[in-house]
Amino acid sequence: MKKYFYEFLKGIIKENPTFVLVLGLCPTLAVSVSVINGIGMGIAATFVLLGSNVIISLIKNIIPDRIRIPCFIVVIATFVTITEMMMKAYSPVLDRALGIYVPLIVVNCIVLGRAEAYAQKQTVLNSLFDGLGMGVGFTLALILISGIREFLGAGKILGHTLVKGFQPAFVLGMPSGALLVIGLLLGFFNVLKNRRE
């Protein structure tokens, strides 16, 4: 049990997909305008990661090595299509807010990266917890970035005003603000890492 817990935890801090592995930044930056979009994207990506990791570790022995990447992509694309249809049916507002970034989960490097680097060599349970941990790590990173952007860029968190009379800086809600926040956060985590060493 402890082993599975470790597999789960490593995705959150030690191998955080966004801040440590620096993978899958396109959706991270594009949807992090508000916390609710960030959470939606995080859940969608977690579902895809979980599903593709489990299926790929189940069928790893029957996939020929030379065409494994197309096989992985088909599995991932299937889960993305499921997510897309579910989102359209149950939460059309979120679907419109996330736009083309939902189908683009297919080319999110985290999902293919985990399939290639982890799921195709590991047992089903390990892959399941790895996928879950990576998904949660990704979601937490999205919440952090979108929290900063929504608070400083619109003065709100989840649509609620926190500080009265606070004049937000609109630039953080724009694309350039996303790049600035992620750049500064990466630098900040580098400082922490250097200090520990």
């Binding site: 993978l23 299509t81 724009m174 694309p175 350039s176 790049l179 990466l186």
Partner: protein, 202 residues
Amino acid sequence: MNAAQFLTIFISAVFIYNVILSRFLGLCSFVAISKETKPAMAMSLSVMFVTTMSSIITWFIYKFLLIPFGLTYLRTISFILVIATFVQFVEMVIRKISPPLYRFFGIYLPLITVNCAVLGVAVLNVDMFFINGRATPGSFYYSLFQGICVGLGYALAMLLMSGIRERLDLCDVPKAVKDFPLAFIIASIMSLSFLGFNGFRF
């Protein structure tokens, strides 16, 4: 089909909604390969070629396969498979026909399969030029042109960035922001300056 529409597509794809700086597509390759101008150039040309070709191919697939059979929900799977196959095929052809060209482009081609910009253009074309499951007049030419323009926008951002980073090599930067963080901060400033094109309309 008219000239103004083409001009609008050009301006919005290259400047206002630049693939990298505004839509954040293809960001991974943008940060990883923009350290020097020459590889950046090779990557940009490969992306331009693949976005153009995949715009054409996905248009045909959507119009003649997915719509008539009512399979539009399969667009993500079919597009990504066709793009991956096409890229693999081009890589094989280049390797066979021209080894020097392969050395120049070849290593970047496999990377393009998972470049969000390529799938992004295909999905955008479908979203923009197919209304209620029907192709709008001239949609083929618009899709093709948008493919080219998105590639151009990618090349523009890539070349600007690689030029700046080549110069930064000579500067003394703090250890914490070296490489990735600094690249993002520069991209942020570039994105801010591209914002000046906002509201440019015909």
